[in-house]
């Protein structure tokens, strides 16, 4: 089993193999994404009842919470890639790291703005400088920092190691975001799904929420695969496998 994994890991690390692998999975992932999104939106916007306190406004949850989960998930993916880059100098991990950053920044931005749009009718304000919102804003700056740092260093292998370190150091912010609503007083509500005892959300809202979360995960993989393919082609433009692919 372990041997098989090592073999698989090495094969995945090879750019031509990953390029083909990602290309063959993209259509299937797109179909899966469409199905999950349609089911999630139907469940969230049509089937789920209005909230007893927040009325219809709570439906922002089906965008806001999956986006916020993705913003943290993608950062953890980047940090893991960062470790792989520093320990094994794996080129593909470097590409995945740098290609994840804009997608993570997008989801963080989406989580912040939809949170604002939910905060205005429910809290009476678009923004407060409390722990949850501030730490999520810092997450956005970390993503932008990764993108900026990578762009600022011309030697790409050096840039890859620099952003790997930034990604690993920045990961301390992730548990801070998660526990911020417990550690500090906040307008933001506590966890309703990701806690150890039973989730305190009704299944009619939980199911579409999980469907949307899955849909966003699949979307991340699609967008990542596209970006990685583009980046690999660009980096390896002088290598034999690219030539064989496109020279007619």
């Amino acid at each position: 089993m372990f041997k098989w994994f090592v073999k698989w890991f090495h094969r995945m690390g090879s750019p031509p193999h990953f390029y083909r692998f990602a290309g063959s999975w993209l259509p299937w992932l797109t179909v899966l994404f469409a199905l999950l999104t349609v089911a999630g939106l139907y469940g969230g916007l049509v089937l789920a009842p209005p909230d007893y306190q927040q009325g219809e406004s709570y439906r922002i949850i089906f965008i806001h919470v999956p986006a916020a989960w993705m913003s943290m998930f993608i950062y953890v993916v980047m940090a893991i890639c960062g470790i792989i880059v520093l320990v094994w100098r794996m080129k593909l991990a470097e590409v995945v790291l740098i290609c994840s950053a804009p997608i993570g920044a997008s989801f963080t931005f989406l989580a912040l703005v939809t949170g604002s749009l939910w905060g205005k009718p429910m809290w009476g304000t678009y923004w407060v400088w409390d722990a949850r919102l501030t730490s999520e804003l810092i997450l956005l700056f970390l993503y932008l920092g990764v993108i900026g740092l990578y762009g600022a260093i011309d030697e790409k292998r050096v840039a890859g190691r620099a952003v790997a370190i930034l990604a690993i150091v920045g990961v301390v912010n992730i548990p801070i975001i998660h526990y911020s609503v417990e550690w500090w007083n906040s307008l933001h509500q506590g966890a309703t799904v990701t806690k150890l005892d039973k989730p305190s959300i009704h299944w009619s809202m939980l199911i579409p929420l999980l469907l949307m979360a899955l849909s966003f995960k699949v979307y991340f993989i699609i967008s990542l695969f596209q970006r990685v393919r583009a980046e690999l082609l660009h980096r390896e433009r002088n290598s034999r496998w690219v030539e064989e692919l496109f020279r007619s």
Binding site: L45, V46, S57, Y219, A230, V242
Partner: protein, 60 residues
């Protein structure tokens, strides 16, 4: 529930629909930008190879 009731979102239409609209914009852009970049890379490579082929033909 009528159609207009659905779009009205209990009076929260502005907040709910702008959230969903923004999500749509962010997802479409993140889809389209790498797709376009990839297509451009492929086009550039193909052009480069065609030119190289021509040069090789004329020199031989």
């Amino acid at each position: 529930m009528s159609m207009s009731e659905f779009f009205n979102m209990g009076g929260y239409a502005v907040f709910v629909w702008s959230s969903y609209g923004l999500a749509l914009v962010v997802l479409v852009l993140n889809w389209f930008i790498p797709y376009q970049q990839h297509q451009q890379n492929i086009k550039k490579l193909k052009r480069q190879y065609r030119q190289e082929n021509k040069q090789n033909d004329s020199s031989s």
